[in-house]
């Protein structure tokens, strides 16, 4: 209890930079406890889920727009970067930002018609989007390798082959800190406040002068860019991807992570991503019934702590995190 209070007090130091420093410290110290590379691999997967969730939380948690298609953007980033370097010989360091830009523009274009929809209809439209991407990846075998997946050679930097998972841990950790910093900046800016405003009342937000369609399209595009970059890092680090990583169930997992962690709390998204990504990797029993477990977690969260784990715990300690 005592440590919990100190931790909570430390987390809610107020200045976003204070919390960012704590996150950085955790990410630096954590590898000291890793007995073997497998744990680095799990940590990389956690970090990549966390990057997707930070973006998805801006869209769903803060702006209140549900997406069931974000695994699609993750896969576009992964396959796009992989194919650009395999087929056209573009270096990964160039391919990843190029693809992320393309995915961002694509998301921005489709955002306007999609985000006119609300509630279930929006969820259905994004679900359809994710399924279309998944079908293309499964069917266009000549390009994507189909359901068997796509192997990617290790990235080269001069004479070095960057295949050590430890190396990618540090890259992913660094980018995660950047993503959290960007997200927290946005949340505490005029644009971010507009997003949180339109969450509860689009008409009142428009009255206050918020260009609602523009705001929604931008946050949708930004969350897609983060998912795409996470996908690119995934191919660099794991060197293998299958269409399953683009599937509907992956999208549901991402959404469950942010709901479990706490909608509208960036650090909640991190906690949700960490717990729900690491558990199936570390506990065999959980892995076997992963989707059942994800469903149970989602239901239990809705019933017992609808605001998610981080805001609920923070309130328990009398402090507020994530604002």
């Amino acid at each position: 209890m005592a440590t919990g209070t100190t931790l909570s007090a430390a987390i809610s130091l107020g200045a976003p930079l204070g919390r960012l420093a704590i996150l950085s410290a955790i990410l630096i110290v954590l590898p000291l406890s890793f007995p073997n590379p497998f744990f680095f691999d799990v940590a990389v997967k956690v970090g990549l889920s966390a990057i997707v969730c930070v973006g998805l939380n801006l869209l769903s948690g803060y702006a209140g727009q549900i997406s069931l298609g974000h695994a699609g953007f993750f896969a576009l980033g992964a396959y796009g970067t992989a194919l650009l370097s395999i087929k056209l010989g573009v270096h990964g360091l160039i391919a990843a930002p190029v693809i992320a830009t393309v995915v961002g523009l694509l998301a921005h274009v489709i955002a306007r018609p999609i985000l006119k929809l609300k509630g279930h209809y929006l969820a259905m439209a994004t679900l359809g989007l994710g399924i279309i991407i998944s079908i293309v990846l499964n069917r266009e075998i000549w390009l994507t390798g189909g359901p068997d997946g796509l192997s990617v050679p290790a990235m080269r930097l001069g004479e070095f082959k960057l295949r050590a998972i430890e190396f990618w841990y540090w890259i992913v950790a660094a980018f995660l800190i950047v993503a959290v910093w960007l997200a927290e900046n946005l949340v505490n800016s005029p644009a971010g406040r507009s997003l949180r405003a339109l969450h509860s009342s689009e008409i009142a937000a428009a009255t206050a002068g918020v260009d609602v369609p523009r705001a929604k399209a931008l946050v949708f595009a930004f969350s897609a860019v983060l998912a795409s970059i996470a996908g690119a890092f995934f191919v660099f680090a794991e060197r293998f991807i299958t269409p399953a990583d683009a599937g509907f169930l992956r999208s549901v997992e991402f959404l469950t992570m942010i709901v479990f962690g706490g909608l509208g709390s960036t650090y909640g998204a991190l906690v949700g991503a960490a717990i729900l990504t690491a558990l199936p990797q570390l506990v065999a029993a959980f892995a076997e019934y992963k989707h059942v477990a994800i469903g149970i977690v989602l239901i239990a969260t809705m019933i017992f702590m609808p605001r998610g784990i981080v805001p609920t715990l923070a309130d328990l300690f009398g402090r507020r995190v994530g604002r």
Partner: protein
């Protein structure tokens, strides 16, 4: 001689001249199916006054209000704000043009604290850039600081400084109504449309609301209110437009409206005088 110099220097400082046509409604009509909710209504709202729009239930007040606010598009006619045609402008652009409204059925930002809600209003004039926001540039920090100062000042003005960090679900109804007004004022409107500001308030709260509206007008914001509370309307409105069955029935000062035979017949009901009116 001296007085004319003083007058010359003062004149541009009286920003909205009394005769300035701030809002002009020209032959506005809106039909829902076969029902003509608003039928060929025209009137002018001059700058720097308190105007009221009244009428019995179903007279078309809400529809007219929504037409001006941009929530509903007219079937015919024009809305001019500051001599500019805003008939087809979306709500957000009307805000840029200097129009704000309050809501009868409260539309609060339940994700935000009272302070943040008012800051959203103040952001109308701040840096909207998404990209700059991501990198927390000096322009963003300055916009945040300015909006915060302004919001704090306005919360104090409407008497809500004690609710500064409360979420709207933890605030009483009367406070939310004043929060809505602070949010609207933060955008520095030329014209403030108020949808039944006294609805649901007790007599003491209504008196406070009356003083607040009078104060807003004194600060140079033109007010157009739709209101059922006749006592409130008659005591603060300088001009009143009466609607009945979608059409303009009368227009004039409270005294003229009170004495108008058509208004008494259609609105107050067959010559029976209400004690309070």
């Amino acid at each position: 001689m001296t007085s004319s110099i003083v007058r010359l220097r003062l004149e541009p400082m009286i920003a909205p001249q009394p005769s300035h046509r701030l809002l002009e409604i020209r032959n506005l009509s809106r039909a829902f199916g076969g029902v003509k909710a608003v039928n060929d209504v025209s009137f002018v709202v001059t700058a720097g006054r308190i105007h009221a729009l009244i009428g019995p239930n179903g007279a078309g007040k809400t529809t007219l209000f929504n037409l001006v606010a941009g929530v509903v598009r007219p079937s015919a006619g024009q809305v001019l704000l500051d001599e500019r045609d805003v008939t087809d402008l979306p709500t957000a652009e009307r805000a840029q043009a200097g129009l704000q409204r309050t809501f009868q059925n409260l539309q609060t930002f339940s994700e935000l604290t009272a302070l943040e809600s008012v800051m959203v209003g103040a952001h109308l004039r701040s840096e909207p850039s998404f990209l700059k926001a991501l990198f927390n540039t000096p322009a963003i920090r300055q916009a945040n600081a300015e909006a915060r100062d302004r919001a704090e000042m306005l919360l104090q003005r409407v008497g809500l400084d004690t609710f500064r960090d409360s979420r709207s679900d933890a605030m009483p109804y009367g406070a939310l109504k004043r929060l809505d007004i602070a949010r609207a004022l933060a955008a520095e409107p030329k014209l403030l449309l108020m949808d039944e500001p006294a609805a649901g308030l007790n007599p003491a709260e209504t008196a406070t609301m009356r003083d607040l509206i009078a104060d807003i007008a004194l600060q140079g914001v033109t007010v157009l209110l739709v209101e059922h509370d006749m006592k409130l309307v008659m005591s603060i409105a300088e001009t009143i437009v009466v609607l009945d069955q979608g059409q303009k029935l009368a227009e004039g000062t409270p005294d003229e409206i009170r004495r108008s035979p058509e208004v008494i017949r259609a609105y107050l009901g067959g010559g029976i005088r209400r004690r309070r009116s």
